[in-house]
Amino acid sequence: MADRTYRAAPADALRIEPLGELTAIFDRRSMQTHLVVAPMPQILDAMGADACNVADLAARLAAAFDLDAAEDARSILAERLAELATMGLVARA
C-alpha cells in the first residue's frame, strides 16, 4: 500500500488530558471522547500541523523513541495512523 499522507486535527480542536496510564482526548468537532495509550498522543504531537506520511513520522519519532528495525516500526506506525483516521483524529491530507 502506498504511504498515505495524513494531517492531525488542529490543536485547538482537541482537549488532551492524561489520566494515569490512559490519555483521554476530547474532540470538540465530533464531541467524542477517545481513550488511548502510547504512542497515540506522541504521534499526534509529532505530527503537529504538518502533512505527514509514515516515513516522515518515523523520522520524527526516532529521536524520542528508540525505533529499531525501520520496516517493523513503519508498519506499526501505519496501523496506528489508520486507527487515528478511523477515530477522525487524523485525516488524509
Binding site: 482537549r15 489520566l19 496510564e21 483521554a24 476530547f26 481513550l35
Partner: protein, 292 residues
C-alpha cells in the same frame, strides 16, 4: 390524564399522570413528606397508561411512557403500579436530564463531603447507602440517593436525588429491622426485579436535598466473595463512570471536563465484601483515610 401527581426529587420536578388512581395514591403516600411546589412547571413527565381503553379494567396492565419512551418495555400489572411509576421517573431522568452529569450511583454525605458508590444492580450500592443513612451510632450520614448522583459540571459538586430507596430481596428485612415501619412502602412481591419495598429517606436527608457535597471518595462495591480493597487508577475510574453515566455523551465537553476533574480529585477503590457488616466496616475505614 385522569389522575396526576407532582413530586420534586432533588432538582427535578415530576408530573406523573395515570389512567388509574392506585399508582398515584401510592406515590402520594410515599412522597407525602417531600417539599412541594404545585405551581412549579414540570421538568419531566411520566405517563402510566393502558394501551387500549378497555385495558383500564380488564386485566389492567400499566405501560410506562412520558417525555421519553422505551419502545419494547413490558407493561406491569396494576398491583405493581408504584414500581411502574418509579421506573418511569428513573427513565425520564436517565434520558432527559441535562443540567448535571448523571451517574448511576448511590451517595451519602457527611460534613459537606460525599461518598459515591457506583455499580450494577446487585453490587450492594443501594443497600450500603440505605444502611449508612440509617446508622444509629454516629449516624450523621445524609442519604443523597440510591440510584442517581448528579455532578455539577461547573463547580464539580455532587447533588442529591433522594427518591424513595428501592430495597430489594434480602435488603428489605435487613433495613426494615432498623427503621420505623411508617417509612416503608407496601411490599411489592415477585416483581420482574424481585421483591421490592420502598424506604422513605430520613426527614433531615429530604430537608437537605438541595445542599451540595464535595466528592471525597468513589467506591465500586461488589457484593460477595472475600473482603478486598483495590485502588483504582484515574483512567479506569473514568472509563467505568462514562459507562455508569446516561448523559455523558450528550453533555459534550462539559461532561468531559466534569469527569476528568472528578476522577483526578476523588480517590477511587474497588471493594468486595461478603456481608453488609463487612461492607460498612470497609467503607468506614476508607472514609477515615480519605477524609483525613
Amino acid at each position: 390524564m385522569r389522575h396526576q401527581a407532582r413530586i420534586a426529587v432533588g432538582p427535578v420536578q415530576f408530573r406523573i399522570g395515570s389512567d388509574w388512581p392506585e399508582p398515584i395514591a401510592a406515590l402520594e403516600r410515599l412522597y407525602a413528606d417531600y417539599p412541594r411546589d404545585d405551581a412549579r412547571p414540570a421538568d419531566a413527565t411520566v405517563r402510566l397508561f393502558a394501551a387500549r381503553p378497555w385495558r383500564r379494567w380488564v386485566r389492567p396492565s400499566v405501560h410506562i411512557g412520558g417525555d421519553f419512551i422505551v419502545p419494547d418495555a413490558l407493561p406491569l400489572p396494576l398491583s405493581m403500579g408504584l414500581l411502574a411509576a418509579e421506573m418511569g421517573m428513573n427513565l425520564q431522568v436517565a434520558l432527559g436530564w441535562r443540567r448535571h452529569l448523571l451517574l448511576h450511583a448511590s451517595a451519602v454525605a457527611r460534613d459537606g463531603r460525599a461518598l459515591i458508590m457506583s455499580g450494577e444492580s446487585g453490587s450492594g450500592k443501594s443497600t450500603l447507602a440505605a444502611l449508612l443513612g440509617e446508622q444509629a451510632d454516629g449516624g450523621d450520614w445524609r442519604l443523597m440517593g440510591d440510584e442517581f448522583t448528579l455532578i455539577d459540571p461547573v463547580g464539580g459538586d455532587a447533588f442529591a436525588f433522594p427518591r424513595a430507596v428501592s430495597l430489594k430481596n434480602q435488603a428489605i428485612a435487613e433495613v426494615a429491622a432498623r427503621v420505623d415501619a411508617a417509612r416503608l412502602g407496601p411490599l411489592l412481591a415477585a416483581t420482574p426485579k424481585g421483591d421490592i419495598r420502598h424506604l422513605v429517606p430520613r426527614a433531615d436527608a429530604i430537608a437537605a436535598m438541595h445542599e451540595p457535597a464535595r466528592p471525597a471518595l468513589l467506591l465500586f462495591p461488589r457484593f460477595g466473595g472475600e473482603t478486598s480493597v483495590e485502588r483504582m487508577g484515574e483512567g479506569e475510574a473514568f472509563v467505568r463512570l462514562t459507562e455508569a453515566s446516561t448523559n455523558y455523551v450528550a453533555l459534550g465537553e462539559a461532561g468531559f471536563a466534569a469527569l476528568t476533574r472528578f476522577v483526578r480529585e476523588t480517590p477511587a477503590f474497588g471493594i468486595s465484601y461478603s456481608d453488609s457488616a463487612a461492607g460498612l466496616a470497609l467503607v468506614g475505614q476508607l472514609w477515615a483515610e480519605a477524609a483525613r
